[in-house]
Amino acid sequence: MIKCKDIYKTYFNSGVETPVLFGIDFEIKDGEFVAIMGPSGSGKSTLMHILGALDTPTSGEYFLDGKDVSKLTDDELAGIRNSKIGFVFQSFNLLSRATVLRNVMLPLVYADISKEHRKKAAEEALEAAGLSSDRWEHLSNQLSGGQMQRVAIARALVNNPALILADEPTGNLDTKTGEIVLGTFQELNRKHAHTIVLITHEPYVAEHADRIIHIQDGKILEDKKNHQKRVATHIYQ
């Protein structure tokens, strides 16, 4: 479960104070599929960094999986990211000269998990992300954009995280491939009950989630259930 309590974030840059978030309050239950939507400059990226334990709030509390992570050190945050969060980025961020399997196993290297377990977990994650096994030994720079994002999704799944955080996951993909990636998230949410937070500026993408939190100027403008949920397929045609 995720709980944000009155979160403020202000950046201090060479004496200039830039307030970004003004009292963000919300809760996300286990197994929810939530979209955080807002135009650029709304503070959604900053919120994503806090949710992803990449950054800490200036004030307020953030509970992830029941643990207050708002006042941890850099290395403690790294541990939290490693065990509780799976990231999916807009630009995939794969190690281009490494094989698919190696990329997916990477988080487990930092989790001190034995080699056999790593391989097994990676294969399961790739299976769940829907990448066919004949691609697993390919170098990641030999894959298409959609396949790369599936590898990235598998990498996010591999440590069995409490939260999957997807930052504009369809931003670098064409509409059709983007649909499939969104379908994959829906499938993971439905079938495996993964908690997913999707950050996007596109209402169309946000409409694939069950709940939409609309952010503007560092505040929550609207937090509602999505009644017109778009359902996408996760299967390649």
Binding site: H49, G52, L54, D55, D74, D75, A78, G79, R81, N82, S83, F87, F89, N93, L95, R97, A98, R102, L106, P107, V109, Y110, A111, D112, R155, N159
Partner: protein, 407 residues
């Protein structure tokens, strides 16, 4: 993060950029290779010089005419310029100084020597029967100059193996043959055993004749060019040196030792002087090679810094998925150390090949010492740590958010 994982990550990132890895390593390879090669040449030269000084005998004190002119083994005095030592001085040393175990005066000059059909220019040493014992000379065949030869002013000669080869051909039987030195006929009675060494001053390119014969037929006077005095043991060298100096000062009626018309050199001093010269030489060579090693190290730092910049996004990703600061810095440090370490091993082999090649083609003895190997390894590992530390720190200090955004 386990050690094996660090190795794997390191290995992976080094082999995924083979050309750059190889080029970076080249700096270290050349650096370590030249350090090992140069030091081996220097130390080989040192060993050769020391052993050639030792080969003239042990516990020796050399008395030469004229003022001390440095550490040269033979201060070759031109005729008439330094004629202050006489054979009587040598006899007096033998008689009056009990510490002197053996005394061998000699008169040596270069002459043109002819045998039927050939001729050579070589060092002719007029000496006494004690000479082989004092100067460590062994006889291969025949006999050395005997006391009887000296008393009888016999015209007999003992040849060094090189001289024999020059005059009569390689390993020819020269005993009983006749040679002409300075237009005087001598009969060859013996050949000395080879001592090795080549070039100017080789102990193998010599002719030994009785001192009396040399004085009468070759030099025409009774001055000697060197008196070799052998001490009983190494401990009595200094005392013997003092006694010989005092005796000769007394005989030459000189009261002020600084005005002495002869010089007394201790073999240990000669070795020390020669060693310090070759030692300086070794340090010089090593220092030049060390500079190239340093340049190699800077090359590694340069490449690591480039790598950190190039891999900023990768570092950001690794941090985002849970790498701690120490994981990142260890990985980059391990990469630098792995580079220098493998470069060090290849450089070691290269240096060893250089020293082999120098021995093979230039004929200079070389020795790759354990200390130079350890030094080179220590330095290369040190370079890895020192020059890898800064880039590794920079990598680990990157903010994951900014690193992920880096284009």
């Amino acid at each position: 993060m386990k050690l094996i994982d660090i190795f794997e990550e390191t290995y992976f990132s080094l082999v995924s950029n083979k050309v750059r890895t190889a080029l970076t390593m080249l700096g270290i390879i050349i650096g370590i290779g030249s350090v090992i090669g140069m030091i081996s040449i220097g130390q080989g030269a040192q060993g050769t010089i020391e052993s050639s000084i030792q080969s003239i005998g042990s516990n020796l004190i050399l008395v030469t005419p004229g003022a001390q002119k440095g550490a040269g083994v033979q201060v070759s005095a031109g005729r008439g310029s330094a004629t202050s030592l006489k054979q009587e001085d040598a006899e007096a040393i033998a008689k009056e100084i009990s510490l002197a175990q053996a005394v061998a005066p000699e008169i040596s000059r270069r002459y043109q020597v002819t045998a039927p059909g050939t001729n050579t220019n070589t060092q002719v040493v007029g000496t006494v029967s004690e000479y082989p014992a004092v100067r460590n000379i062994e006889i291969e065949e025949g006999d050395f100059v005997s006391g009887q030869n000296v008393n009888g002013i016999s015209r007999v000669a003992v040849l060094g193996p090189t001289t024999r080869d020059d005059l009569f051909g390689e390993n020819a039987d020269a005993i009983g043959q006749s040679i002409r030195i300075n237009k005087v006929d001598f009969k060859v009675i013996g050949i000395t055993k080879s001592k090795g060494g080549s070039g100017f001053g080789s102990q193998d390119d010599m002719i030994y004749v009785p001192i009396s014969t040399a004085q009468r037929f070759l030099a025409g006077d009774t001055y000697v060019t060197t008196i070799s005095v052998q001490a009983k043991d190494a401990d009595s060298m200094t005392e013997l040196q003092t006694e010989v100096t005092n005796l000769l000062l007394d005989r030459h009626k000189i009261s002020d030792p600084t005005q002495a018309d002869f010089s007394v050199m201790n073999q240990a001093d000669i070795v020390a002087t020669a060693s310090s010269v070759t030692g300086t030489f070794t340090i010089l060579l090593g220092a030049i090679a060390g500079i190239s090693l340093l340049v190699g190290g800077i090359g590694i730092m340069n490449m690591m810094l480039t790598t950190v910049t190039e891999r900023t996004r990768e570092i950001g990703l690794r941090k985002a998925i849970g790498a701690k600061r120490a994981n990142i810095s260890t990985q980059f440090l391990a990469e630098a150390i792995m580079l220098t370490f493998s470069g060090g091993i290849i450089g070691l082999i290269l240096g060893w090949l250089i020293s082999l090649a120098v021995t093979q083609f230039a004929g200079i003895a070389t020795s790759v010492s354990l200390s130079s190997v350890l030094l080179a390894f220590g330095v290369s590992a040190g370079i890895g740590v020192v020059f890898g530390y800064y880039p590794a720190r920079r990598a680990s200090g990157l903010n994951p958010i900014e690193a992920l955004r880096y284009e």
